[in-house]
Symmetry: none
């Protein structure tokens, strides 16, 4: 049972872990070479000194591990160690070159983050419902892995075991290439005067959001994982060249957009959720209290299970559109039932 | 003064305009070749028949204008006409080739949209705080321009006058290139198995959000504006090639990220954002039937108004994270109430 945890690094990830553990009654202590970050983080997490931590979390950039590890191992000779870096083959090399036995080190990567960093951006629920990859080496002890799994469970995340190399290939595709594409797109704004940028909508804003990320952090990540990234960038370069040759063909452009739309649809709808096939029941309601409760009561009464819900409503608008996502069978049942008792149900969308 | 508006096209833009006008007491009627879209849109907007509209809004794809315009002009010989297409040089050519005098046509482009289309995605506040470009020709009458400006004002948007050619250059950079970059990035997911996509976070989701857009709509837009787009794509292609050559240099990668960060920071923060300021109440619930109904019953019992809702599931987890969007006051009330009766309410997010 985890009772004491020491966290090295009072950034977004370290502080969020501390906040979450502290909420659950576990003693935590944060240390950081930046004294004011450490003070803020310890204050936020109501941290106390920890003498014998079962677990030491290295929440620092991977390149900083060699410098930190000897001192930490000396201070905590009986602890299990884990890191939280975005590339997983590299920290294993650092630990191999250190005094810490590999049996006591668990490489991990929480699939959570924000484009803003630092202790002040920390959230106790940063990891809730997220996946947390662990890439244990063959040398890793069962006991160390269990301690890390306990931490992940406590934080409300789900442990996913992957080989380190597969993890690095996966994040190249789902995290590092998006960073490169977003940055590349932001570059093209160089030729846009301010009056054009004033017209920008949510599309430009969302696609370039992560272009605001920290250059030091990201040059480190991309450089460390360049072997996995290079093939993806080559492919992107080739496809962009093909599009250039096809700009005179509306059909070719449509295929280009259609293929992107298909691949995009493969991303699960919510963090870690499955890409399930729902059927949608649109209902137009008046904007008055109790309408949603009434609909959910009807759902409960006829035992249909609502998987997701969307509300389109704006301040001042006298109607709202409720769209319920259900299984195909439940959608038919609910649509017939609500229509029969007078709700304004529109045709089902598949 | 605008009193009656006829809207041709019951898609996202047409229906959103109808919702907003109807809220402000203006009579609207929507027509669409798709009867069920027209029915839903007219229902949502509480529309009625309109006999003598001062304004006819062509909320249809630019390529559909030639087919629609003669009939609409015959029906509404005294009205002003406007379109809402994403490229502005082309509709002017269509009107020149029609019976409608250019003096009565105002080319416009609202800088608002969603990656989902159709009447069911419409919102009365879609245009609130957004820019709405108008590109009047020299022939355009003062009276017609004033009618269109009144509509834009009513919808809470801000009219911005630009020459049609400059508009098309601007949207190539701030709208069409982001669409291409997002689609291109989504293509690269082809090689990612489903287990990798399960790990995807907000970065991938945001950068590929608009890749879900309609291929017919977008091939039309990109093809129409290819003369303005081609130079931007060439430049992006060249820069991606340079990055490929620089992947062995951490300093060069950092400069690449840093330049993107700088250009991103030039995008104004407030324009284009929703004027809604919601406060979010996160609630962790057990994954069992009736939980949502119970929460909405509590909301109804204490008369708080839920504006939006998000459900996050995680595979293999017995809990779900429900996030309710409310006004700041209602969020406090609900959070205190649900906590007091034993719900697992997390701290409010602003």
């Amino acid at each position: 049972m985890l009772t004491q945890v020491r966290i090295v690094g009072a950034g977004l990830i370290g502080t969020s872990i501390a906040l979450a553990l502290s909420t659950r009654g576990i003693r935590v202590e944060l240390v950081d070479s930046n004294a004011s970050a450490a003070a803020l983080a310890n204050d936020l997490a109501k941290a106390e000194a920890v003498e014998a931590p079962e677990l030491v979390v290295l929440a620092i950039p991977t390149e900083a591990i060699p410098l930190a590890i000897e001192g930490e191992f000396l201070l905590n000779p009986n602890s299990t160690f884990m890191d939280v870096g975005s590339v997983k083959t590299e920290p294993i090399v650092h630990i191999k070159n250190s005094s810490l036995p590999l049996s006591r080190f668990v490489p991990t990567h929480p699939m959570a983050g924000r484009e803003v960093g630092g202790a002040h951006s920390a959230r106790a629920d940063l990891f809730t419902t997220r996946s947390w990859v662990i890439t244990p080496t063959p040398e890793c002890s069962r006991e160390s892995e269990e301690i890390v799994r306990e931490l992940i469970d406590l934080l409300g995340a789900t442990a996913v075991v992957l080989p380190a190399e597969e993890h690095d290939r996966a994040v190249a595709a789902i995290s590092h290439l998006p960073q490169i594409a977003s940055t590349l797109l932001a570059h093209s704004l160089e030729s846009a005067p301010a009056e054009w940028l004033d017209l920008a909508g949510a599309g430009l804003r969302d696609t370039t959001r992560i272009a605001a990320s920290d250059p030091n952090l990201w040059s480190e990540i991309i450089f460390s994982n360049r072997d996995q990234i290079v093939g993806l960038v080559q492919r992107m370069h080739r496809e962009l060249g093909e599009l250039l040759e096809n700009l005179e063909s509306k059909t070719a452009i449509a295929s280009f957009i259609e293929k992107g739309r298909f691949e995009r649809s493969r991303i699960p709808g919510k963090h870690g959720g499955k890409a399930r096939e729902y059927t949608y029941v649109p209902i137009v309601i008046d904007d008055k209290p109790g309408q949603l409760a009434a609909i959910f009561n009807e759902c409960a009464a006829i035992s249909v299970n609502v998987e997701d819900l969307n509300i389109e409503h704006s301040p001042g608008q006298q109607s709202a559109l409720i769209t319920l996502a259900l299984s195909s069978h439940d959608a038919d049942t609910l649509s017939n039932h609500l229509s029969a008792i007078g709700w304004n149900v529109h045709p089902i969308l598949k």
